[in-house]
């Protein structure tokens, strides 16, 4: 499994490097949330838990939290703001118009 790091790895010594460009680490260090101008905010009062926002997120930045409501299993979408690039697909595609946009603070 790719190891997590907190920043992009630059090898300081040639001896530490493999003989060719082999990857060992994930891209987790790259917190693409910093790319946003606007952030999506889910209004759970309107949300029908259809998971369409999760389905269409290119950043894999919407996680589904499994909850139970009235004995039924529900998938509650939760936005991971560390990685959400603010592309807006989720608020565009939400059939219930349950996602609002907020301008990103400085």
């Amino acid at each position: 499994m790719a190891k997590k790091t907190d920043k992009k790895i630059i090898f300081k010594k040639e001896k530490e490097m493999p003989s060719h460009a082999v990857s060992f680490y994930s891209m987790d260090y790259n917190k693409t949330g910093s790319w946003r101008n606007f952030r999506p905010v889910i209004n759970y009062d309107k949300c029908t838990f259809c998971a369409i926002c999760w389905k269409f997120c290119p950043e894999v930045a919407i996680k589904l939290e499994k909850t139970k409501e009235k004995g039924k299993e529900k998938f509650k979408p939760v936005i991971d703001y560390e990685y959400c690039k603010g592309c807006g697909i989720c608020w565009e595609e939400c059939p219930s118009k349950a996602i609002d946009t907020e301008e990103e603070a400085e």
């Binding site: 090898f11 040639e14 493999p18 003989s19 460009a21 082999v22």
Partner: protein
């Protein structure tokens, strides 16, 4: 077992004995017999390998790089235009550190069309990071394929075994074919450290900024330097196993030589006869055959040239705008030495013009009349 084999078939037997697992090749004169025999061996089950009948040499090399990256042994053969077409992927094979072994039949590049022998095709690839060696007879061709796998896989760097078009590729010679179980003992299966494997996922060849690309290039050069030792080591081990020893270079009657002929491949083979002929006339001549050209055996060159009065490098190639390529590299190896003989560079035999014993005797006689090299190219056997 001894068999009469043409040079092309010696390559095929080398690949077969080495148990190549994936072969991708595209036909080109004068290489076709290499792949035709390998096709037959695969079809009959004599060789357990996948044979990809690719639609171009570029795809041949690309597919072998992919296969090699999964950790299997790969082989191809080509010549001239085909090698030129592979050029982009030759860089890729070296950079990806995939130990592909390839047979190249030295054939002159077009235009105009030519099928005859010349070394420009392989020498044009000298900076790609591929190891390259020039064979002088079919026994060496077969033996060198096996050795090439051992060196290439120990270092994870690709290698090409080179032989002259028609002069070797289509010339039949008696070749001793080693026993399979002995080759298996000498050459165990390829083990790759980081390979394509769903159980251990990696990305290979990702974007590398100046902050680390430099070090990866450094590693290839360091490996080339290790290869100088490895070729000698493997050549000696081959001798222990099969009774025929090989090295980076081959010397003939150099210990007391005053004049030294430096050459490669079949021309060196011819030059050996010339050395004997001239010795009969009392001339103290010796021969240095450069077998491994990449990595370039500078130390060996310095060792041998330091004790002669004159060196004559015979090139069957030319670096346009400069001079013969072996000549350039030999000169460069000697440049910083306190004691270096004058080095004469002869360019001959381009486009397959025959280079006979008589021609080499003529070269010797003409050059030995010169006091010093007046120019970087002495053209021989040409109609000017």
């Amino acid at each position: 077992m001894r068999k009469v084999l043409m040079g092309n078939h010696a390559l095929s037997y080398g690949a077969k004995l080495s148990r190549a697992q994936v072969i991708s090749a595209y036909p080109i004169t004068p290489q076709t017999e290499v792949v035709e025999l390998l096709s037959e061996m695969c079809a009959s089950g004599e060789l357990n390998a996948k044979f990809i009948k690719v639609e171009s040499e570029h795809s041949a090399m690309a597919s072998l790089i992919g296969a090699s990256a999964t950790g299997v042994r790969t082989f191809t053969a080509t010549s001239s235009q085909g090698l030129a077409l592979m050029h982009e992927m030759l860089h890729w094979a070296a950079g990806a550190r995939t130990p592909v072994v390839m047979g190249n039949i030295n054939r002159a590049l077009a235009p105009p069309w030519s099928v005859w022998t010349e070394q420009n095709d392989s020498l044009s690839q000298r900076d790609t990071g591929w190891m390259q060696l020039y064979a002088q007879n079919n026994q060496e061709v077969l033996d060198s394929v096996i050795q090439a796998y051992k060196v290439a896989e120990a270092l994870d760097l690709p290698a090409m075994v080179i032989l002259a078009a028609f002069v070797l590729s289509h010339t039949s010679e008696t070749v001793d074919i080693p026993e399979q179980d002995k080759v298996d003992e000498f050459l165990p299966p390829y083990k790759r450290e980081y390979k394509l494997d769903p159980d251990e996922p990696h990305a290979f060849g990702g974007l590398t900024a100046p902050d680390n690309y430099f070090e990866l290039r450094y590693k290839i050069q360091k490996t080339m330097e290790e290869a100088l030792i490895k070729w000698e080591e493997v050549g000696k081990e081959f001798g222990d196993f099969f009774g025929r020893k090989y090295g980076l270079v081959e010397t003939y009657k150099v210990s007391d030589a005053k004049d030294l002929i430096v050459s490669s491949g079949t021309m060196a083979s011819t030059a050996r006869n010339v050395v004997d002929r001239l010795r009969e006339k009392g001339k103290k001549v010796g021969l240095l055959r450069i077998r491994v050209f990449r990595p370039f055996p500078s130390e060996k060159i310095r060792e041998i040239l330091s004790s002669v009065d004159r060196a004559i490098v015979i090139d069957r190639n030319i670096g346009f705008g400069s001079s013969g390529i072996f000549y350039q590299e030999v000169k460069a190896a000697m440049y910083n030495e306190k004691k270096t003989p004058p080095i004469f560079g002869v360019v001959t035999g381009l486009g397959g013009r025959d280079v006979t014993s008589k021609d080499i005797v003529g070269i010797y006689e003409d050059v030995t009349k010169m006091e010093e090299p007046k120019s970087d190219i002495i053209w021989k056997g040409i109609n000017i």
